[in-house]
Amino acid sequence: MLRIKDLSLAFPEQGKVFNNISFNVRKNTITLLSGNSGVGKSSLLMCIARVIPNIIEGEIKGEIIYKNANIADKGIDSISGSIGYMFQDPDSQLCSFTVEDEIAFGLENLNIDPNQMDDIIDRALDLTGIRHLRMRNLNQLSGGEKQKVALSSILALDPEFIIMDEPTANLDPKSTREIVDLIRKLRDEMGKTILIVEHKVKEIMDIVDDVIEIYEDGALNIEKDEFFKSYLVKSKLPVKSKKSLEENPVIKVENLSFSYDKDREILKDINFSLYEGEMVAIIGPNGAGKSTLTKLLIGLMEPCKGRILIKNKDISEMSPKDIGKSLGLIFQNPEHQFIKMTVEKEMALGLELGGASQEEVSNKVDYYLNLFNLSSQKNMNPFALSQGQKRRLSTASMMINGQPILILDEPTYGQDRENLQELLNLLYDINNRGVSILMITHDMDLVENSCDRYIYLEGGQVKHCGIVDDNFKDNLEREIMAYEGE
């Protein structure tokens, strides 16, 4: 179906990304493209979709043979409609206002008769199981729903070959399973060929046929069973010994309620505490209100009811700067907190504002750059980094300040396992030195290995909470089932 031969790519400013990559994708299979963060997986997919160099500049050498024709020097319109391209950020691949308009968009471009569109739209929505969303406004959908709309809009064009860039990043376990099932269906029932980049290897390993690992100087077709076996061994997350420290609350949330508008209450009467030295997970489905909660904790918005105490002080009486001194928040979108124009300066900012000496700053920054595997990017602009690199930078620039409380909103998304392990070891390290950590995540392995307690949020309410022990996953499943059965 697809053959890549000696493909190399260089960006005008950053220089070369990868070299001499060769591999094949067989018809009607699911091929997983694996490789470290920043190695160029997303860029490779864009080369295949002709996005590079047609829309994004880059210098390509080598051949991309799709259905016996070399497309390496052809334009996007040579493959549009035949290769579907779905990317990670669900928001930036939708271009209209409602779900049905979005599906119709591609059909209109292909001059399909409007009278046939209704049927095609229904069928495309049925494939992803979202026919009930047909008339909905795109702005009111959750991330997972948007991903499904994006996929439907591609399926409506009936492409033979679909490439996907981390389609489940940011999705909760349930939506992830749904998307994975869907991908399986695409291959088994509809005869599609799929090339996918995905960091959640464990979730998709059952459906993958071939695995290709990308390195800077080449690619390897690896035996998949071997890959998964060694992956499971290599990716074991470091385990933290569990503690029970319910003495000094550093954050105390009391009867907290919040709504963005009058129609719908997003958080309903939330109560919980984070105790000094603890590592606690907040889990729950997409749209449960987790990020909203972090925004309240950092004082970005005011609660409608209830209050939040940080070290026994009501945050409504604290200035943003004071809140920032005791609490570091790593936002779900790392770009929201970048201020400076280079990675190095970004890291130094907090220290400089804190009044550290030149020498101290530069030593500490170098140390942390190294620790977070960002040394060679130190003069780059934060916005030019790859997904995973950005995440690490935002985490590093918060951790370097040494606040006693750290809140992380999905620290693991877009990370390969190696970087994740490093990150966890760092978190354990500061946690041992007394930093209390609140972590929002969809990764249950992570919770099991690293957190002392968990808080399960659903529909804006704390539905369940408890300590993380060996039975954690079973307990959780039983509890959630119980709620769903209600």
Binding site: F11, P12, E13, Q14, I55, I56, E57, M341, M380, N381, P382, F383, A384
Partner: protein, 188 residues
């Protein structure tokens, strides 16, 4: 490089306009205390900010029509955000866009330095001010008019052209503009 404007550039111009629409509503909160402080001069002092959406599009894309398109997108967005000027805002946008476009056209879309951008900004301001004179009772300010005009000119240069260039350069360094003409460093 091709001088026809591409789909990518048009979408990006539209996104910038939408963003500027939001930023302007933020800036309105500065506008009010300024008017309270400096009366009719208040608006004139930050007048230049409103030119950014026409200027920044031109500064980044550097192709014929970029200024006009960016400015018109901003106009329609403002119209749909419920601007009190109604269809008028489209007239103002067209004038603004033309003002930015003219000096670039004369310079064959090759020069984009502070001087060139300032000429564009001031010209845009003059065209819109003429419209204000006719429609929005600018003449009613009487003898204060020349002074207001002078303040608007300075503001167009500092907050219009100057701020646009600073923002454009910073944005360039983020790497997101690779592939736009500004990244080819033509005309500086």
């Amino acid at each position: 490089m091709n001088s026809r404007i591409t789909l990518k550039e048009i979408v990006v111009l539209a996104m910038i306009s939408a963003l500027m629409g939001v930023v302007f509503t933020g800036i309105d909160s500065i506008y009010e205390p300024l008017t309270a402080l400096a009366g009719p001069f208040g608006g004139a002092i930050i007048y230049g900010v409103y030119l950014i959406s026409a200027l920044i599009g031109m500064y980044i894309v550097r192709k014929p029509g970029a200024g006009l398109i960016g400015s018109l997108f901003t106009g329609v967005i403002n119209l749909l955000m419920g601007s009190p000027y109604g269809i008028h805002i489209i007239v103002a946008s067209t004038l603004q866009g033309l003002g930015v476009e003219i000096p670039m056209f004369l310079g064959k879309y090759k020069k984009f330095n502070l001087l060139q951008m300032s000429i564009g900004a001031v010209l845009a301001m003059i065209l819109v001010t003429i419209r204000d004179y006719f429609v929005f009772g600018f003449g009613m300010y009487g003898s204060l008019m020349p002074a207001i005009f002078a303040v608007r000119t300075i503001s167009s240069i500092v907050f219009g052209a100057g701020l646009t260039i600073v923002i454009g350069k910073a944005l360039l360094s983020t790497g997101v503009l690779n592939g736009f003409k500004i990244a080819a460093k033509s005309g500086e």
